[in-house]
């Protein structure tokens, strides 16, 4: 007897609910981006809320709108996350890979600090206080804002307080470009090997007091360079990469090593005429 009651009750109940849902589905239909549905299907549908969104569907909506990253879902597998990322296809496919390049070579071994900065340990903070105390106004302050800003661990500060970009890890996201208060970073195609590692706009040897590797705007590189590959603008050499071909010649006569050739892994190579810097320790005011 109870079997029939149960069958009738539950069967009836499910029938009723199914009919209700189906009619509701038709009557109350609202159009939505079909991608949301697809992404939602790719999610585990645990509706656990661990992603910070109130369920899988809102999370899917956020994913489609680009407001969230698939990695936020703790329940899904790595593969699941990847397939979502692939579906949403953020990878634009650039013609040539770009990397961040630093236009300064003035580490603590070659550049002096005129004043000792005290305060928030960040370049942005230091830059507010009389420019940060570095002798060269344009130079790297060395507090490592770029290192912090880099989400991919591609930037590390070397022993002279100068950031070094790991070319292989760099994704050219541009975070370091924004982070640097002195605007020393820029995104460059990897093939651009000839590089001016200085930004100071001073003319003449005076800059050498502040930094041994500063550009004195002597113009020798421009003179040596074939054609108008290099021109002097605002006391700095400007390289026209459109005319660029793989030659190390321009670096050879630079007396300071401000213009360099970058190795495959981004290590700068100086010309043979540049001053050899052997100092390991910190360069102080007064010493030369």
């Amino acid at each position: 007897m109870s079997v029939f009651i149960a069958l009738a009750a539950l069967g009836g109940l499910t029938l009723l609910l199914a009919v209700m849902l189906i009619t509701a589905n038709r009557k109350l239909f609202v159009y939505e981006d079909p991608r949301i549905e697809t992404v939602e299907d790719m999610l585990p549908k645990a509706n656990c809320g661990a992603c910070g969104y109130p369920g899988c569907r809102p999370f899917a909506e956020a994913l489609v709108k680009g407001k969230a990253l698939p990695g936020k879902c703790t329940v899904s597998t790595d593969e699941g996350r990847q397939s979502i990322a692939q579906f949403l296809g953020v990878d634009l496919g650039r013609e040539e890979r770009q990397v961040a390049r630093l236009a300064c070579a003035g580490g603590t071994n070659v550049a002096i600090n005129r004043a000792e900065y005290e305060g928030i340990r960040s370049c942005q903070g230091a830059a507010l206080i009389s420019g940060g105390g570095k002798g060269c106004f344009w130079g790297c302050l060395g507090h490592g804002d770029c290192e912090v800003a880099c989400d991919f661990d591609a930037i590390t500060m070397n022993e002279h307080g100068l950031p070094v970009v790991d070319v292989n890890k760099c994704t050219a996201c541009g975070d370091c470009v924004v982070a640097c208060p002195k605007d020393l970073f820029s995104l460059q195609p990897v093939s651009n090997r000839l590089w001016v590692a200085c930004k100071n706009l001073e003319h003449g040897e005076a800059i050498l007091e502040d930094c041994h590797v500063g550009c004195t705007a002597c113009g020798r590189c421009a003179m040596d360079a074939p054609g108008d590959l290099i021109t002097m603008k605002n006391n700095l050499p400007v390289i026209d990469y459109s005319k660029f071909h793989q030659t190390k010649d321009p670096i050879q006569r630079c007396p300071t090593g401000a213009i360099v050739w970058l190795d495959d892994d981004g290590t700068p190579v100086k010309g043979k005429d540049s001053r050899k810097i052997i100092r390991k320790g910190e360069r102080r005011v007064g010493s030369s």
């Binding site: 004043a115 000792e116 005290e118 305060g119 903070g125 507010l128 206080i129 005011v285």
Partner: protein, 339 residues
């Protein structure tokens, strides 16, 4: 002469005298009389308990700093305060091993996991106390009478209970004024309360000394006077109103203010700056929440004492207070920002 490297730093270039560690140190100074009095009233037991709790806090702070490879922060006195405050809220005959565990928990659970000083959202001493209360309900509600004649010659056996072992109590425990009232309807006279001639936690019995410590800190501008004022005022008003309604059923407001941990809580616990709101109005509201909740729990709740829970709850509410109560910024019209 003018060749040397200058220093550069952000304005302003002058600073007012006292620093954070000085504030902390002064809180310790203000607490010392309370400690002395509790030792006077409860003898070696109290001294041992307070010292052990403090030791637990300081050692834990040191060890955790080392473990996370940071410079040790015991020199800022905040761990000492946590330890002393915890010790003061424990019964004088509390087993030492539990006190030590409490001190350690206060730092680890109440402070370290949140990021250390400045980030603890709850008062660490009270977190420790709450955990102890839940873990060892018997030990923490077994009160020792004050001014026992042998308090300087003997140490209670429960104090020296072996670690992880149940303590044995050798003295018939006394009832605190609050439990005496709650369960027996007996009201302890105010004079006894004010001078701590009653059973209770090591440090909560003598209201007068606590008030003096508070006045010292307020006078040195190292404590926000609004919190104790708000706590005591709201507790007084609510219990006063109840007393007026039915003086048979409800105790007098004076009894409420001077009994239990309200005074210690209002002056030294609720005023923990980190876990309290920041705007003046927010502080008043925060204090009032503590005062009202304390009375509500004491009068209608199942527990005789509610100060600890009230302060912890108010700690939990204080981010909300900070969110809703903001100063009206100069040159703006006051409006509630719907966040």
């Amino acid at each position: 002469m003018l060749k040397k490297t200058l220093h550069i730093s952000s304005s302003p270039h002058i600073f007012k005298g006292h620093t954070t560690d000085q504030i902390m140190k002064n809180v310790v100074w203000a607490l010392l009389p309370v400690v002395f009095y509790s030792v006077y009233a409860f003898g070696w037991n109290a001294l041992l308990v307070i010292a052990t709790a403090t030791l637990g806090s300081v050692i834990t702070e040191h060890v955790l700093c080392r473990l996370s490879k940071k410079e040790t922060t015991i020199a800022d006195y905040s761990a000492v305060i946590t330890g002393i405050l915890l010790g003061l809220t424990l019964p004088p005959a509390f087993p030492l091993w539990m006190a030590f565990v409490g001190g350690a928990l206060g730092i680890a659970l109440g402070k370290y996991i949140f990021g250390g000083l400045g980030y603890n959202v709850f008062n660490p001493a009270l977190v420790a106390r709450a955990v102890l209360q839940a873990a060892f309900p018997v030990a923490i509600t077994t009160w020792h009478p004050a001014f026992l004649p042998d308090r300087f010659s003997e140490v209670a056996s429960s104090v020296l209970a072996l670690p992880l072992m149940q303590p044995q109590y050798d003295v018939i425990s006394g009832a605190t004024p609050l439990s005496a009232f709650k369960f027996e309807g007996y009201t302890t006279p105010a004079s006894e309360l004010a001078f701590g001639l009653v059973s209770g936690s090591a440090g909560e019995t003598c209201a007068v000394i606590i008030i003096l410590g508070g006045i010292y800190l307020i006078a040195r501008n190292m404590m926000n006077w609004r919190i104790p004022a708000a706590v005591l005022l709201s507790a007084f008003l609510l219990s006063g109103a109840l007393y007026l309604v039915n003086s048979e059923l409800y105790p007098s407001p004076v009894f409420m203010l001077f009994s239990g941990g309200l005074m210690l809580g209002a002056v030294f616990m609720a005023t923990d700056m980190v876990s309290s709101p920041i705007t003046p109005l927010g502080l008043w509201i925060y204090g009032a929440i503590i005062g009202v909740l304390t009375i509500v729990i004491r009068v209608w709740g199942g527990l005789p004492e509610g100060v600890m829970y009230s302060i912890l709850l108010a700690n939990a509410i204080s981010p909300q207070i900070d969110r809703l109560i903001k100063n009206r910024v100069y040159g703006t019209t006051p409006k509630m920002k719907a966040v």
